[in-house]
């Protein structure tokens, strides 16, 4: 790809993919695969599953490319796909109650991926454990707004809510997280 492609925005690229120029999708993959992968990791703490689900997202991006219209925003669109992929996964695995995910899994995944100092590792373990104690909806909204830095307005578009409703949800979730996290500290 030429220098020209670095200046192209997501929407322009996706429209070209929609026009059957599939190789442009590689650009989108490079821009978004980590985000998507981490979204799934923080929800499942399972690397294999997260890779599968991420792949699914980009397969669907190709498959449903023609449904991406000219006036769409790309980020909410791809997040909506990811969310649907995750929900389909939950339905298939019947994992409606996410407390099924064992705490042990969290630590294992962190062992694999973290190179940093021990201290950081511990706080991170604690953070992830606290996240797991939240409800699915609370965790999801925090993953999006705090870990993935998705703006309230974009989250609103994705989840089909008003921006103020999103703000309320985020507040509620972060307050819950604080509660759980600092309780853990005391133990």
């Amino acid at each position: 790809m030429s220098k020209e492609s670095k200046r192209m925005n997501d929407e322009t690229i996706m429209l070209r993919v929609a026009n059957d120029e599939l190789s442009f999708a590689t650009l989108l993959f490079e821009r978004y695969n980590l985000l998507m992968f981490n979204y799934f990791m923080r929800n499942t703490y399972n690397k294999m599953t997260s890779q599968d689900l991420t792949q699914n997202v980009f397969y669907r991006l190709i498959k449903y490319r023609k449904s991406f219209k000219e006036d769409y925003s790309f980020k909410p669109w791809i997040y909506r796909i990811s969310r649907n992929v995750y929900i389909d996964y939950l339905k298939e695995e019947n994992k409606i109650n996410t407390n099924d995910i064992e705490e042990k899994q969290v630590a294992d995944n962190l062992d694999e991926n973290i190179i940093e100092k021990t201290e950081k590792k511990e706080t991170e373990i604690k953070l992830n454990q606290a996240l797991l104690k939240l409800s699915t909806t609370d965790r999801e909204i925090l993953i999006l707004s705090k870990f993935q830095n998705v703006k309230y307005q974009e989250i609103a578009e994705m989840l089909d809510l008003t921006e103020s409703a999103v703000k309320v949800k985020v507040h509620r979730a972060i307050k819950k997280l604080r509660e759980v996290y600092f309780k853990l500290e005391k133990v």
Partner: protein, 259 residues
């Protein structure tokens, strides 16, 4: 503002979305409220930990698999597009043209037959349409299927008057194997009743017909025409031994009207 509300401000402060004014209000409160100050510190710590947390990394295979997938899909698309081209190869063109011609004829006939639709007739086109219609009617009349022949007769009754069609209908009236087709022909010819030769043919046909249904229909038509020329033929029929009772009655009734 109470501390619960201040907690909301703290969250938004961390988010970076407070105005300078709001920041000032918060600062002022934090100076005097130890609960909120602790809350602020905890939210800040949480934020730092979140921002510090690592990105998980997928295997390299994720990307290479996707690139492979793209290549596969691109090939599939090319194949689809080229197979569409194949369909429009030379050997198919004749069939396509044939179908197109049939469709055109069907469309033209449909337009002429359907009286409910608006009568937008292009004069030059009308003649061509009529000629085409006649061709279709004529060929359908030869069909092995009785229902097709009935269809043909149906079309012809709505056609504009022309000798060829009349002739064909008469032949059908007298010679068609199927009584329903003959009946249909009689009814179709009825529409052309103003034509002298048609009237004449009805009488002649009466001589040939043996099926009661047809006899009755023809008699009805002739009586309606008040065609006195039919009288001799009708008398003759009365003398036949095998004459159907209903037909006999019809003739007597008809004669009553005509005489």
């Amino acid at each position: 503002m109470n501390c619960i509300e201040f907690e909301g401000l703290i969250v938004e402060y961390i988010n970076g979305s407070l105005s300078d004014e709001e920041k000032q209000i918060l600062d002022n409160h934090l100076e005097s409220c130890s609960n909120c100050k602790r809350a602020f510190e905890q939210y800040a710590e949480l934020e730092i930990n979140i921002k510090d947390s690592h990105q998980f990394l997928p295997d390299d295979s994720l990307k290479s698999n996707f690139i492979q997938h793209i290549e596969k899909e691109t090939k599939a698309i090319k194949k689809q597009k080229s197979s569409i081209h194949l369909v429009i190869e030379k050997k198919h063109i004749k069939s396509i043209m044939r179908y197109a011609a049939i469709l055109l004829i069907g469309f033209l006939i449909g337009n002429v037959i359907n009286k409910q639709k608006s009568n937008v007739e292009i004069t030059g086109l009308k003649q061509e349409v009529d000629a085409t219609k006649n061709l279709v009617i004529m060929s359908l009349l030869e069909s092995n299927s009785a229902s097709n022949r009935i269809k043909a007769v149906g079309y012809s009754s709505e056609a504009t008057y022309n000798e060829e069609i009349i002739k064909a209908l008469l032949v059908t009236l007298n010679n068609d194997k199927n009584v329903n087709v003959r009946l249909a022909a009689a009814n179709a010819l009825y529409n052309f009743k103003d034509d002298k030769s048609v009237k004449e043919s009805f009488i002649q046909s009466l001589r040939h017909q043996t099926d009661p249904r047809l006899q009755i229909r023809l008699i009805d038509i002739l009586v309606e025409f008040k065609d006195e020329n039919a009288i001799p033929e009708m008398f003759k029929m009365l003398q036949e031994n095998e004459l159907n009772e209903t037909v006999k009655y019809k003739i007597e009734e008809g004669l009553g009207v005509l005489l």
